[in-house]
């Protein structure tokens, strides 16, 4: 275990930035906070739940994967040594699950190249970051138990730093980090964890709805009720730590061109529409059903890595949905209806 004074964290980030691309919580105009490049003054340690999951570090919103130039073509696999600082435990679980999913069958080389060189520094949550946090329901927080290189615990004036890997250990070898004996802080950490876990209320509806899905107990009509409200913006998918669907398309510019892959979503009709124009998921209600089934029912056990579902309880879909059909709202509405 190590510790660092809060006032020294920015200096540590700057030291790391000499060797790594550092992504950390940064305050933007109009009150948004996102994971962004280490800048001069907008880095913050006083942040809740950044509005976007940090998945774009490993799975960019769009990336060139293939290039055609001078009658030659070549694959483009981009990566750079990166430190993801200050991610939440739910996001750590999202990365663990996505990494497992992306490694199955044929390993996704573009994802893997970035995942291999990205160091994860988790900021354990003291409590819920807002009213939609429910990681205790999905066994994915409020602190990480696996996958991190370092984990920070906020103890007031200082952070205690748990080391999770060799890479993590190297990062905290500098003067800013002070050695502490595990036994001295053991009780403090345990108290932190217990208090944090107790302060995030369990959402029983999530588990109940997952059970109902497994039993096929939810009528399609119910999903159509949600579907008729959905404006198909895709916001829930783009903020989700475990949504990794993409589309691949070519951009031609004269004799040269690039192949790009970019985020996609199963909530768009064209995602499942076939060449004949037949669509096996013909309505927005059924597309929503499919997405929630993927979060709470249809997943490979191997990808769970300690979590209960492939929903990691971050609540961001409920934060962003403009018509109130994020996972918490949907689960509560279903339970209300089937009482």
């Amino acid at each position: 275990m190590k510790s660092i004074d809060k006032k020294d964290v920015l200096a540590a980030l700057k030291t790391w930035a000499t060797k790594y691309h550092v992504l950390c919580p940064v305050n933007k105009t109009n009150g948004d906070c996102i994971f962004d490049c280490l800048g001069e003054d907008k880095v913050t340690l006083d942040y809740g739940k950044p509005s976007l999951a940090p998945k774009s570090a490993l799975f960019p919103q769009s990336e060139i994967i293939f290039e055609v130039k001078d009658d030659q073509y070549h694959e483009v696999i981009s990566s750079q040594n990166t430190i993801l600082f200050g991610i939440r435990a739910c996001d750590m679980m999202g990365i663990l699950q996505s990494s497992s999913f992306m490694a199955r069958d044929n390993s996704d080389v573009y994802y893997r190249a970035k995942a291999d060189v990205t160091i994860k520094v988790v900021m354990a949550c003291k409590g819920p970051q807002n009213e939609t946090c429910f990681c205790t329901t999905t066994d994915s927080g409020p602190f990480a138990t696996d996958g991190f290189d370092l984990q920070f615990f906020d103890m007031g004036e200082r952070f205690l730093v748990e080391i999770g890997s060799k890479k993590g250990k190297e990062l905290v070898s500098g003067d800013l980090f002070i050695d502490v004996k595990d036994e001295e802080v053991k009780e403090g950490i345990a108290a932190f964890k217990e208090k944090a876990a107790q302060s995030i209320p369990r959402v029983n509806e999530i588990e109940k709805v997952a059970g109902m899905m497994k039993n096929g107990a939810i009528d399609d009509e119910k999903w159509e009720e949600f579907g008729k409200k959905c404006i198909a913006c895709g916001g829930c998918v783009f903020v989700c730590p475990t949504c990794t669907c993409f589309n691949v398309y070519d951009l031609a510019m004269g004799d040269s061109g690039v192949r790009i892959r970019g985020w996609d979503t199963c909530l768009y009709g064209g995602f499942t529409r076939e060449a004949s124009m037949h669509n096996p998921r013909p309505t927005q209600g059924l597309r929503l059903k499919r997405r929630y089934e993927h979060k709470l029912k249809d997943y490979n056990e191997k990808d769970l890595l300690g979590g209960l579902f492939t929903c990691v309880g971050c609540g961001r879909c409920s934060d962003v949905c403009p018509v109130g059909i994020g996972i918490l709202d949907v689960a509560k509405a279903i339970i209300e209806d089937y009482k």
Binding site: I231, C233, N247, V323
Partner: protein, 539 residues
């Protein structure tokens, strides 16, 4: 906008987007809100879930329809009759706001004498809406305090567009549903900065802030600022220009960010007009159908390549910062204009955009306090904002109308110019869909949007489809007196019988080859919402 300027004195959305959250009733007429303004549409859905009621007047079964307490699927082009019918009920049942009408408005007598002819039974015959539903809608709107009227192109894109708008304004004044939070007449503008373009005087009759070119005092102010003599005559509308070009009276045209080869009605005649010019300049971010015809194309920077402001539908001026430098030889529009002006012998010496804004502040009363410094600190400012202490204006006409008293401007119902007959037996109405924007110059280059909506389609009611022998996804030919296109049939009850719907997004089946080039006499907006067509299945 002309209709609102005449009745209220200001041609803009009276209220603000957050007002939707607190409203108790929406009267949405001629707006497919979830498709065209989805974040406003979603506020309507959320408010309805919380107990607000929705009166929807739209011939199509749009996404908002299942949320409506009353859905009036009136015949296309009968908006004035429908609105008059609603006002008839409100007056005859004494549901109007007498205090508001007496203190804040003029011309009530004239309104009463026009709308008294439009009894629910009379309107039922014109609009196809059951008289009882008209009465119900009238009572619901009149007796709900926080009631917002929301409209878009379904109201304006008619030869009677100005009459339609005036009728909406009449209804709001009659019930006193204006000048208060969560009320008003709320035109949702179709483009992110069309409000800003109008505000800046990109209209033939006004300088910035709707200051009339015919007003000598106004002209003098601008002449002093710019050091030139200014024309006191109202200029030409786009429609006038096309006619003049066709006649050979207009020799040169400079088009910025507009694609009339797809967006104007009766494309065949637009092409003749543009070909007849001696000189055509097009400034755009892509080589549009119109730009292909130009003698000179000036490549403009996209939104991501320039700094500046946009003024959105709720009159909010917002700062936008560039993300990358312009690619290739593209330059920001203002830089291109300055350079053209310099070469033409009038140097414009602005070092940056904020200097232009400073000039706007000096010359435009409603933008007086909207400076870059203030915009940096907050998510925009809503005009009118006359000075730097002013917080901006969330809703207009609070204690008095911009023009003093609001004026009732009663309108008589006038039918569509071209109605179906034996040969052209269906009514074509046009619009937009969720995934594409206008003539597709931008959105059709986005892979995922193109995947979502790849092909031109025509919505047709199952009854008509069956009669003609058309099945889902059949290729059909749609013909009007002006032209013909081929598109895929989407057989759906979303459109009522005898009505077909198409969009102007697809160059391969450009719907404006079909539309009728007839215009509102005041606003000069074309009747995109209704013309007669016939349909056959392609073999």
């Amino acid at each position: 906008m002309a209709g609102l300027a005449a009745t209220f004195g200001s041609g803009a959305m009276t209220n603000s987007i957050p007002d939707f959250d607190e409203a108790k009733l929406f009267f949405v007429i001629g707006s497919n809100t979830t498709a065209q303004h989805p974040l406003i549409g979603s506020r309507i859905i959320k408010a309805v879930q919380k107990g607000a009621r929705l009166i929807l007047a739209d011939p199509r079964q749009i996404q908002l329809a299942p949320f409506a307490a009353i859905h009036l699927r009136h015949n296309i082009g009968t908006d004035v009759a429908l609105l008059n019918g609603i006002m008839n009920v409100i007056i005859s049942e004494g549901l109007y706001d007498k205090g508001f009408v007496e203190e804040r408005t003029e011309g009530f007598g004239a309104l009463r004498s026009v709308v008294e002819k439009y009894t629910p039974k009379v309107v039922e015959a014109i609009s196809g809406i059951d008289a009882g539903q008209i009465e119900e809608a009238a009572r619901m709107y009149a007796t709900t305090k926080k009631a917002m009227i929301v409209y878009a192109m379904g109201i304006t894109q008619h030869a009677t567009g100005t009459d339609n708008v005036k009728s909406c304004a009449n209804l709001a004044m009659l019930t006193g549903h204006v000048g208060k939070p969560s009320t008003g007449v709320n035109p949702l503008r179709g483009q992110n900065n069309v409000q800003g373009a109008c505000d800046m005087g990109a209209l033939p009759n006004v300088f910035s802030g709707y200051q009339k070119v015919t007003d000598a005092n106004v002209r003098e102010k601008f002449e002093d600022a710019w050091g030139v003599d200014l024309d006191d005559k109202v200029g030409m509308t786009m429609i006038d220009m096309m006619e003049a070009a066709q006649k050979g009276e207009l020799k040169a045209l400079y088009v910025m960010g507009e694609n009339p080869m797809m967006s104007d009605p009766d494309t065949t005649h637009v092409e003749i007009a543009l070909s007849n010019l001696d000189f055509l300049v097009v400034q755009d971010i892509f080589l549009s159908e119109t730009a292909r015809m130009a003698d000179v194309v000036l490549p403009a920077a996209s939104f991501a390549e320039k700094d500046g402001t946009y003024t959105n539908t709720e009159r909010r001026v917002q700062l936008s910062k560039k993300a990358i430098n312009p690619l290739g030889s593209a330059r920001a529009d203002w830089e291109i204009i300055c350079e053209v002006s310099r070469l033409a012998g009038y140097p414009m010496n602005y070092a940056c955009q904020s200097e232009i804004m400073h000039e706007i502040n000096m010359l435009t009363p409603s933008y007086g306090g909207i400076t870059y410094t203030r915009l940096e600190e907050r998510p925009g400012l809503q005009w009118p904002c006359p000075d730097e202490e002013h917080p901006g204006t969330p809703y207009l006409h609070k204690d008095k109308f911009a023009k003093g008293l609001g004026t009732f401007m009663p309108c008589e119902f006038k039918p569509l110019i071209e109605v179906p007959d034996d040969e052209y037996d269906l009514l074509l109405t046009t619009g937009r869909i969720y995934h594409h924007y206008h003539t597709g110059t931008m959105t059709r280059r986005i892979s995922i949007l193109e995947r979502e909506a790849p092909k031109p389609f025509i919505e047709i009611n199952p009854l008509d489809a069956k009669r003609i022998g058309i099945r889902q996804n059949d290729l059909i030919e749609v013909t009007s007196r002006r032209g013909s296109i081929k598109a895929m049939a989407e057989v759906t009850p979303r459109v009522p019988p005898k009505v077909v719907f198409g969009t102007f997004h697809f160059h391969e089946a450009s719907i404006n080859l079909l539309t009728n080039p007839v215009y509102d006499p005041v606003a000069k907006i074309p009747e995109y919402k209704g013309c007669a067509v016939k349909i056959r299945r392609c073999a």
